[in-house]
């Protein structure tokens, strides 16, 4: 079946059209996902605890250390290629230390403590939930990482179980590995040669679950991600909130290559992401054939770096004006026979030009490139004469393309070298690489790391998993979803609420609140699933409401100290002032429920019909009166 590559149309209907055209089976489509879920236990190798609910420590209040990481020899006697790539950048890494959540171990100043037992137990339980084979001895390994996100230059990881299975609507899929590893530090900013990380999240235990490359399509991948996510949440040991779970995709087509897409933010984007990646690979293959048909064999000998700074003395291009003022330069290279190729749309709003810019950005401090397939006059303010001069200096033919870089000489050299190398690779097809998800498309991040990346953690010994530990894990498996739903129905939740609550990340909060306060479960469920959501939408900071606070609110209700209607109002106030004492607050803000005595007094002080009195009292004291109670008192009168 013919493969049509739409050059510029990114509308949903064209995506739909592409969906119909592409048959994943014919393409030899392979896809797997890898999920990293943070646990809510202490950190994996030290006694620190990262509290995501804690307010942000101001950056200025944090101590900092700076480090430079170097590539080291992998097991096979050579430096890991990804590591070598990073080393090229010779970057300086700054780490911010929040003493509430960081100790000497995160700073690589103390050897790791023994693996967190609670985290290990959670991994064992989850392994049994997927019917996987737990290993007899677990070894903590060091996985080389030198992009700075691991302070020691490696991430500690341990394989716990293998050969699990998961039932999906499209059949049973394999879960080859379940591992437990430490979270890396969080990137704060990247300024040229310096990258700043925060250490507070380094060391948080991550449960890593990987499927085999057998997912059938984007929807299947999304389903698998959802199922695994739900199962993880059902352990009750997972952290909640932004960044607590990460999904990475692996996609390939037979003529293409395995590409890893890291950091998928929203599950609903998975089908589109996968599709766009397939598109991108098909696009690259098309470019390869196009290059072949142009009889262009791009080799090292075609690389010619030209300093064109002198051509822009009188330029009206603001970008270059600024650069010249900073004593920077303009360098260029020519790509023979490449005319028009950079315009190729590989993904929606992502041309080959944008794609090459991704490699440039990863290999140098350059913020981007300018190329001749763009509207140089319209987009950048180049003059006709300047463009001609560029073409002349580069001895360009009609069918050639040029790439410009603006910056220091070193930056331009590194940038254009990277661009040229990537263009040479276009002749080979699709390179294996790691990309970063950005919405529904992805940007190049780094070459796919080689396998020479892991070696044993020499500071810790292996952990023997006894038969008892495995049996324990089997017995500790959490309640399956169906049983939970039955339980909620028994508690009085209607079917819709019960189904929603079972899938909600707050199911365990719900169960704890039911136990802690004596409020009706149905009310608690509605509050959590609906009222809190609308309060959040109104702009209130619902993350300020702790479990303790919510329990108190519901207890207040069940003690008849506030009415049902007052609950959302009280919560709004508590979002603003989370540390206020609830009894005080209720009294000060006129939220305390009126007693029957007070109601009777009110009734007797009013004139008119029962309906009139009802309306009057409800109008004046809406939040302090339960309509039913008032009605009953009025009847009784």
């Amino acid at each position: 079946m013919g493969i049509e590559l739409e050059q510029s149309n990114n509308s949903p209907s064209s995506i739909q059209k592409r969906r119909i055209i592409m048959d994943y089976v014919d393409l030899g489509f392979k896809c797997g996902i890898e999920i990293h879920q943070r646990l809510n236990t202490r950190k994996l190798f030290c006694e620190c605890f990262f509290d995501p609910g804690k307010g942000e420590t101001p950056l200025g209040a944090m101590r900092k250390i700076t480090r430079r990481l170097r590539p080291v020899v992998g097991e096979l006697g050579k430096v890991d290629p990804a590591a070598a790539f990073e080393a090229l950048r010779k970057r300086k890494f700054t780490y911010l230390i929040d003493e509430d959540a960081v100790c000497a171990i995160e700073a690589d100043e103390e050897p790791p403590h023994q693996l967190n037992v609670e985290a290990l137990k959670t991994a064992l339980v989850f392994s049994r939930m997927l019917s996987s084979r737990i290993l007899d001895d677990v070894f903590v390994m060091r996985k080389t990482v030198i992009d700075g996100s691991a302070v020691s230059g490696f991430q500690r990881t341990a394989l716990v179980a293998v050969n699990g299975t998961l039932s999906t609507s499209k059949g049973i899929i394999r879960i080859p590995t379940i591992a437990i590893e430490e979270e890396s530090s969080g990137i704060l900013e990247k300024k040229g040669d310096e990258t700043v990380y925060r250490l507070d999240r380094q060391g948080i235990p991550l449960l890593e679950v990987a499927t085999g490359p057998t997912l059938k399509d984007g929807a299947h991948a999304m389903e698998a991600a959802e199922l695994i996510g739900q199962m993880l949440r059902s352990t009750g040991k997972v952290q909640r909130g932004l960044g607590s779970i990460r999904q990475d995709l692996n996609v390939s087509i037979s003529q293409g290559a395995r590409v890893e897409i890291k950091g998928v933010q929203e599950l609903r984007l998975i089908p589109e992401l996968i599709e766009n990646e397939v598109q991108r690979q098909i696009g690259l293959l098309k470019i390869r054939s196009e290059l072949q048909s142009r009889h262009m064999l791009l080799g090292e000998e075609h690389f010619g770096l030209h300093d064109l700074t002198r051509l822009f003395g009188n330029t009206s291009c603001k970008l270059i004006q600024g650069a010249l003022a900073r004593k920077e330069s303009v360098f260029a290279i020519k790509l023979p026979s490449f005319l028009g190729l950079f315009k190729t749309q590989l993904m929606p709003s992502h041309s080959l030009g944008a794609e090459i810019a991704g490699y440039v950005g990863a290999a140098s401090p350059a913020k981007g490139i300018i190329h001749s397939d763009e509207g140089l006059k319209e987009k950048y303010g180049f003059g006709e004469g300047e463009i001609a001069a560029i073409r002349k200096s580069l001895h360009m033919q009609e069918t050639d393309l040029f790439i410009l870089c603006i910056g220091s000489e070193d930056t331009c050299k590194a940038a254009l070298q990277a661009a040229f190398e990537r263009c040479m690779l276009l002749q080979k097809g699709v390179p294996e690489e790691t990309r970063r998800a950005e919405g529904a498309i992805s940007i190049f991040m780094r070459p796919l790391p080689g396998s020479a990346r892991m070696y044993p953690e020499t500071d810790l010994g292996p952990i023997t998993i006894s038969k008892e530990m495995v049996e324990d894990a089997e017995k500790s498996r959490p309640e399956p979803t169906e049983a939970k739903k039955e339980k909620y129905l028994k508690w009085g939740l209607n079917l819709q609420l019960a189904e929603k609550m079972v899938r909600s990340p707050n199911w365990d909060l719900f169960e704890k609140l039911v136990v802690a306060s004596k409020a009706p479960p149905q009310l608690i469920a509605v509050t959590l699933l609906e009222s809190l959501v609308s309060i959040k939408r109104e702009g209130f900071a619902t993350t300020e409401l702790s479990e303790k606070t919510l329990a108190l609110v519901f207890t207040f209700y069940s003690d008849s100290k506030i009415t049902k209607a007052a609950i959302p109002e009280l919560m709004k106030l508590l979002c603003k002032y989370p540390t206020k004492s609830i009894p005080e607050f209720v009294a000060q803000n006129g939220l305390s429920k009126l007693s029957s005595k007070e109601l009777i007094a009110l009734i007797s002080n009013l004139e008119g019909t029962k309906e009139k009195k009802f309306a009057e009292i409800m109008r004046a004291h809406r939040l302090r009166v339960e309509a039913q109670e008032l009605q009953k008192l009025l009847e009784g009168n």
Partner: protein
């Protein structure tokens, strides 16, 4: 040793460590490389490096099968870097061991000390962009906690030889961090007519990791040895937890003050000699130092050392019979790591709760030791600050009993100095005189206060 069942299986299949194998255990199959057995796992467990890189342990169960599977990946040796001559300043590099000179067996995770200099150089290729390594020598590959006097003696001789080589601007010695400060003091006393900087350098993290701190230490040590005009033995290590700069600490005034931090080494009762940056900038910090002479000078090693010496820590309930024991065993010198200003229990401090047992006074034992010709030196376990033999009554009593308070000298430095001095003096008076003379900057007559806890 593996369990019998596993031995049998491996022998039957002629399977050796390092072979690429397929292991069938129950319903699961595992492909990888068979790793050598370490004592860390039970003897009925096989260790495998899976194809995905993870190491795992598999217990023997009835029906376990192991089969060879193609030829294993050839594990290349540790890369080596040859020395390339350059026109940069020349130095001599002497290897004595330590974490800085270790390598890891990437398969098993075992840490080995068996590295030679060319392997070490491959982890710090930058070193040859800083100095020209004129001579390179592997003296020993010892974990420094096992160091003894003979190590010092051999080392001093080699350093003297290397330092006397006219083309060498200085010498770098790689060393384990555990006893680095003892070695730096030993070298300071043993080396005579030292005319060049000697940098003693180590690492707190292992070279297998990206965060290896030895790189910066070696580079700064190289700058110290080649560019500075301080003709002293110095420990050159990180000056902070960041990879920003190192300090060159005077070898007789430095101590390891943290088990694992990069900046564990601190100058005590002295400012560091210099602050050294990775770009070669050297900021002198201490106006008192032995300057590199303008005329060439031959450095020699005088390594005689009295080994029958000991250090004793003083604490509540410390029993002086320990000192008697040492004296009876023929020890010739003892450094008391006394409390605060240099106190030992005497029972004579003037205020007594009535609980002090007079037999626990150290005065008679000190007197006895001194009478028998044993030198009793007094330093402080507070480390910072100066000792005194006059400020309190019982300090004077200790002095009168023959104990000699050593100003602000570190206990460890005092121990090393005592060993060297005893081998070079013929009388107790001479020993006392030498111990109280400032031979190598081990005594700082001026404590300004800004050196405290830096």
């Amino acid at each position: 040793m593996y369990s019998r069942e596993i031995e049998r299986l491996l022998n039957a299949g002629k399977i050796l460590d390092g072979d690429s194998v397929e292991v069938q255990q129950g319903n699961s199959s595992y492909g990888g490389i068979l790793l050598p057995r370490t004592g860390e796992v039970p003897e009925d467990v096989l260790t495998l490096k899976l194809d995905n890189g993870y190491n795992i342990g598999l217990k023997f169960v009835p029906g376990l099968k192991i089969t060879k599977r193609g030829s294993p990946a050839k594990l290349a040796g540790i890369p080596r870097l040859k020395i390339v001559k350059s026109s940069l300043p020349s130095i001599a590099l002497i290897i004595s061991g330590g974490t800085i000179g270790t390598h890891i067996d990437y398969r098993t995770g075992g840490v080995f000390m068996s590295r030679d200099a060319e392997e070490l150089l491959s982890t710090v290729p930058e070193l040859q962009q800083v100095v020209n390594i004129k001579t390179l020598q592997t003296l020993f590959q010892t974990a420094s906690e096992d160091f003894s006097v003979e190590n010092w003696q051999k080392m001093a001789q080699e350093i003297a030889k290397a330092a006397s080589e006219p083309e060498n601007r200085g010498v770098i010695v790689t060393h384990g961090t555990d006893v680095m400060h003892y070695t730096s003091a030993a070298m300071a006393f043993m080396l005579q007519n030292l005319a060049k900087p000697i940098a003693i350098v180590g690492a707190q993290r292992s070279p297998d990791r990206g965060s290896f701190d030895g790189t910066l230490n070696l580079i700064c040590g190289a700058y110290y040895a080649s560019l500075s005009d301080v003709a002293e033995v110095a420990v050159v290590m990180h000056g902070s937890s960041s990879d920003e700069f190192c300090y060159a600490h005077r070898g007789t005034k430095v101590r390891k003050m943290h088990t694992t931090r990069r900046d564990a080494f601190r100058s005590i009762n002295d400012r560091p000699l210099a602050k050294i940056y990775p770009d070669g900038k050297i900021e002198p910090l201490n106006p008192v130092f032995n300057k590199r002479p303008s005329e060439p000078q031959k450095t020699s090693a005088d390594t005689s050392f009295e080994k029958r010496i000991a250090m004793l820590k003083i604490y509540p309930n410390a029993n002086p019979e320990i000192l008697d024991f040492l004296v009876d065993r023929g020890y010739r010198g003892v450094v008391l790591e006394a409390t605060a200003l240099g106190h030992v229990p005497t029972g004579e401090s003037g205020t007594n709760s009535g609980f002090f047992d007079p037999k626990m006074s150290w005065l008679p034992s000190v007197r006895n030791a001194v009478d028998k010709g044993v030198f009793v030196a007094v330093a402080s376990q507070a480390l910072y600050g100066r000792t005194s033999s006059t400020v309190y009554r019982n300090l004077r009593l200790l002095r009168d009993a023959g104990g000699v308070a050593l100003e602000d000298m570190l206990p460890e430095t005092a121990y090393v100095k005592l060993g060297w001095v005893l081998a070079h003096s013929k009388s107790a008076e001479e020993t006392k005189k030498l111990m109280l003379s400032n031979l190598r900057g081990e005594i700082n007559p001026r404590l300004t206060g800004d050196e405290f806890l830096q």
